[in-house]
């Protein structure tokens, strides 16, 4: 029995910023390190974690059947074929929207923490019931945001709520960073976002078309040792989460051509 299970909520407030993609990639990356990891899809109204992990055809039961004792936890857990250290548990299916309460969520998570070292909870968007249920069962949180005003504003609201629930630590992942736009000062910089939200930065993820390709296939980028920018970012985040000291990728160094050098020169502060 794992007693020091890390129960981490992955949330953002705003939808579409990359919670589920981060959950899938972190889950795979941690499992690859030999850590037993469960990913819990708390967003069962609009569940997608199964799709990103390529497990959509293997779900038979959900956490609801486990709590009703109509199946055992082992039957509901979907083990990843290539990374058997990773298991997915859907909280429920979209047809049973109203059943889950904070108590239920806490019972599911406490069952999971008996056998896993990490439980990653993919939180639904918004700050209503689904969010409250997921928070009630969590100890730590990763807030995902994009360098866009709407995403940062929603992240701020969520951080306030996490604080009132005593979630600690809360760390930030800045997703979909576009180095060229930051260089031309048309996008909030990393420092802008961390200053405004005042959270420690767990990592950033560079915008990368390969993320879409990997979701098309249902194979997270971290699964097959891909070396694309986003894959490196996700692996680094998993390592940092696990306590390894890995320097941040510097987005301004991601390009090395003449144009990139000129861009860097243009953003040098003169006074």
């Amino acid at each position: 029995m794992a007693t020091n299970t890390r129960i981490i909520l992955i949330c953002s407030g705003k939808g579409g910023v990359g919670k589920t993609t981060l959950t899938a990639n972190l889950g795979i990356a941690l499992a690859k390190k030999g850590i037993s990891t469960a990913v819990l899809d708390a967003d069962f109204g609009l569940r997608n974690l199964d799709l990103l992990l390529g497990l959509e055809n293997r779900i038979i039961y959900t956490a609801q059947e486990v709590l009703e004792e109509s199946c055992r936890l082992e039957q509901a857990l979907v083990k990843h074929k290539q990374q058997p250290n990773l298991s997915l548990l859907p909280a429920g299916n979209p047809r049973m929207l109203d059943w889950l309460k904070p108590d239920d969520m806490q019972r599911i998570v406490s069952l999971l923490s008996e056998q896993f070292d990490y439980v990653l909870i993919d939180c639904p968007a918004g700050v209503e019931e689904g969010f409250k249920n997921a928070v009630s069962a969590s100890k730590e949180a990763i807030v995902v945001t994009n360098p866009e005003v709407s995403a940062v504003r929603d992240a701020d609201r969520v951080i306030g709520l996490l604080n009132t629930h005593g979630i600690n630590p809360i760390q930030l992942v800045l997703n979909r960073v576009r180095p060229k736009m930051i260089a031309s000062q048309e996008m909030l910089s990393i420092d802008d976002v961390t200053d405004i939200l005042a959270l420690p930065l767990l990592g950033l993820v560079i915008e990368d078309e390969q993320v879409i390709v990997s979701t098309n296939r249902g194979e997270p980028l971290t699964l097959n040792g891909s070396k694309t920018p986003a894959a490196r970012c996700y692996s680094n985040i998993a390592s940092r989460l696990h306590g390894e000291d890995i320097p941040l990728i510097d987005p301004s160094k991601e390009g090395s051509g003449m144009r990139d050098k000129l861009r860097r020169l243009m953003q040098t502060k003169i006074f």
Binding site: E148, V152, R153, S184, M187, I270
Partner: protein
């Protein structure tokens, strides 16, 4: 100020948008975090000015009350310039008896 800013100024182009985004966010977050609408803030500003004006003579036009945020702290910052007379002394209500300069009647 960066090279790009200078170039933009010289070419009379619009300022790069990241700065605007940061400033807009800081303002909207200050309001989000306090749950104060601009209307309520304005009302509070007027009342604070009235109270302060009872004790010292302030420049009502110059007075500003705003919300500022740093880290996760939000502060209400009031900037109320106090008028000085020719001798350089602060003009408090006790010192100034000339009723023409009083902005409002006290009761």
């Amino acid at each position: 100020m960066t090279l790009r800013d200078i170039l933009n100024k010289l070419l009379r182009r619009q300022e790069a948008s990241a700065n605007t985004a940061r400033e807009r966010l800081q303002l909207v977050l200050a309001h989000d975090r306090t749950d104060l609408s601009p209307d309520l803030l304005d009302q509070m500003r007027r009342e604070i000015l009235e109270v302060v004006a009872k004790y010292v003579e302030i420049d009502i036009e110059e007075g500003a009350v705003s919300l500022e945020t740093e880290d996760r702290m939000t502060a209400l910052v009031a900037n109320l310039p106090i008028k000085r007379d020719a001798s350089g002394a602060l003009r408090t209500k006790e010192l100034t008896d000339d009723s023409e300069s009083e902005p409002s009647k006290e009761n």
